[in-house]
């Protein structure tokens, strides 16, 4: 069985498990994203065909909600809070330092090697710890541009098993 066949069967199985009523579309997209970290293009088309919805409509829903990503996310998903409290306490310099460190330019948010992805979110509800970033559910409080660089270097080492 080719990897593509396995992939499509998995998408089919997810659609079947949630149920292919139109109202389930968002739940299905969430399941797919949980499985692959993003929404692969073939999955969007397949969901449409399987549910009897036009793939353009599925694409419309997938691009409307910021929770969905059509680009692969990194192994380490960095959420950089830009809520009011974090913003006034300097989340932007942190984000810029992060992007510079990871060499993310021109709207790209995942590194070439697929190790890191960076996104901004609006308030993580930890305003007392501002500015905050969250990496794969681990919270890093009171972050600074210098701290960001150290964290990234640590994670790279961790990934190499050092």
């Amino acid at each position: 069985m080719s990897s593509k066949t396995i992939f499509l069967e998995k998408v089919d199985a997810i659609v079947d498990s949630v149920g292919n009523a139109q109202s389930n579309l968002i739940a299905i997209l969430q399941h797919i994203q949980a499985e692959y970290n993003y929404l692969p293009e073939d999955a969007i088309i397949r969901i449409g065909v399987k549910m009897g919805i036009s793939p353009a409509t599925v694409y419309g829903v997938a691009t409307f909600y910021s929770q969905f990503s059509l680009d692969p996310k990194g192994k380490y998903q960095i959420k950089c809070c830009d809520g009011t409290a974090c913003h006034v306490r300097g989340s932007m310099p942190t984000l810029n330092a992060l992007k510079a460190k990871l060499e993310l330019k021109d709207g790209k948010f995942t590194t070439e090697d697929g190790l890191f992805s960076v996104e901004t979110v609006s308030c993580l509800g930890a305003c007392g710890l501002a500015p905050v970033i969250v990496i794969n559910d681990k919270v890093y409080p009171k972050i600074t541009p210098e701290a960001v660089k150290i964290i990234i270097d640590t994670l790279i080492k961790e990934d190499r098993g050092e």
């Binding site: 088309i45 036009s54 793939p55 409509t57 694409y59 419309g60 409307f64």
Partner: protein, 583 residues
Amino acid sequence: MSDNNKKTLFVEGKEVEFTDEKNLLEVIRKAGFQVPTLCYRPDLTSFGACRMCIVEIEGRGIQSSCTMPPEPGLKIRINTDTVRRIRKMVLELLLANHNRECSTCSRSHNCELQKLANLYEVNEIRFPGKKRLEELDDTNPSIVRDPNKCILCGACVRACAERQGLSILSFAGRGSKTIVTPALKKHLAEVDCVNCGQCVAVCPVGALTIKSDIEKARALLNDKTKTVVCQIAPAVRVAAGEEFGLAPGENVIGKLVAALRIMGFDKVYDTNFSADLTIMEEGTEIIRRLEKNERLPLFTSCCPAWVKYVETQHPELIEHLSTARSPQAMFGSLVKDIAVNRDGIKRENFKIISFMPCTAKKAECQREEFSVDGERDVDVVLTTQELIKMLKGSGINLKDLEPETPDLPFGSYSGAGTIFGASGGVAEAALRTVYEFTTGKTLENVDIKETRGLSTSKELTVDLNGTKVKVVVVNTLKEAEKMLRKVIDKTADFQILEVMACPGGCISGGGQPISCNEPGKVEKRAKGLYDEDSSLPIRKSHENPEIKAIYKEWLEKPGSEKAHKLLHTVYIDRFENCYKNLK
């Protein structure tokens, strides 16, 4: 109904009665007032996107009239200072993001946004705006999509979903990044678009336009080494006059013939001729299938959008499609075959240009099946809109011309050929011939009224020599899909299914002059066709003398081997190459 039950409201102080109008806009229009709109299309869901149709209602403030249901006693003002100020501001905002290259836009002078900007005196745009910088998509053979001119009114999204059930175009993204696009921002040529052009027909601006082939046609006409002939489709003759100040629905075939002779065509023929030919072939096929009780129900195959729909969405049903080519395609193959094999003209020096109400015909003529040695049967397809533009661009005023008659033999037609342009026409034309062929009796009353009219679904049962044959006529692909479901579920109780993809048939084709806000126009075009039919001495395809002659001289008999080679086709399972096929 007693006066107590009468429901009224007030527009600008005038008491206006209303009954079942679905929104205030309809009531206001019925009362003879005009409210501007960019996104409202009477047969599509009200969307309230453009905010042009806002009105001021006493005690309710500002409301968009297209989304508000009428209520008794409402006091509506349609032109207050506030209303005008808001409309003007909205126009300014729309224009701030709009690619305002009006002078080079094909919708210039015919653009609803441009017209309103002028009416509301938007002389300067105070906002810098943010222009989209999306790629212009001209990959589709019929439709050009320019997202940078899109005002996000959603008319195309609704037309594709609600008329055709396809939803090829959809909104994607959010807020200022919203865009109308096919799935995954693919090109229109890479998705299942059937090229019907209904999105073009409802677009208020130049975001969706017909792909122009006028230059190609002019180049052929200017090439003195080429013999160039043309065919004019039925629905073109009742729409082309509109843009020259003639009444909607007025039949201008004679004037068109005169105009095209001035343009330099060597011969001006009529697609109605090959519509008659279609009836001979398809009629014979219907009779054969009914006798053998095989591949029923038979689907008509004149509409290229419908054919592509079956090939891409339901390839398992392609055997139901009549193998008869569409009238345009039959004309191309037959006339070229005769020119080459009888008259000895080199194929590359004999060119055919079609004038069609249809954008999908542009795609049809590019099908590989409809060419010989790489030379297409029909070389260029121009829509009614392009025909009008070409004539105007050549300084020809259709209105002033004396009518002339088309050239023979391929300009000879019966009334049955003419009504192909309206939904139900193909079925009616076929029944006139099939009835006489099967019963051997003369059909005295040729008017088959049951299949006429703009309703999306019509049916009729006829008795053919003791066999009851049920004919279902639908227009719009959404309606066709319902019938296909019956075929798939094996609950279909009909033997013949006529489908035209555009609402009401070719008369409201994607290539016709835009009429989406004037529904009455389409009815008048239909009337123009039926009037021509009843005015003609010959109203049955098989009685057209030139059809008889062409069989005698060239095609032997309907359904012969030669007729099959020239006038029939095979259909291809296009799901194989479809973007939805992920294997």
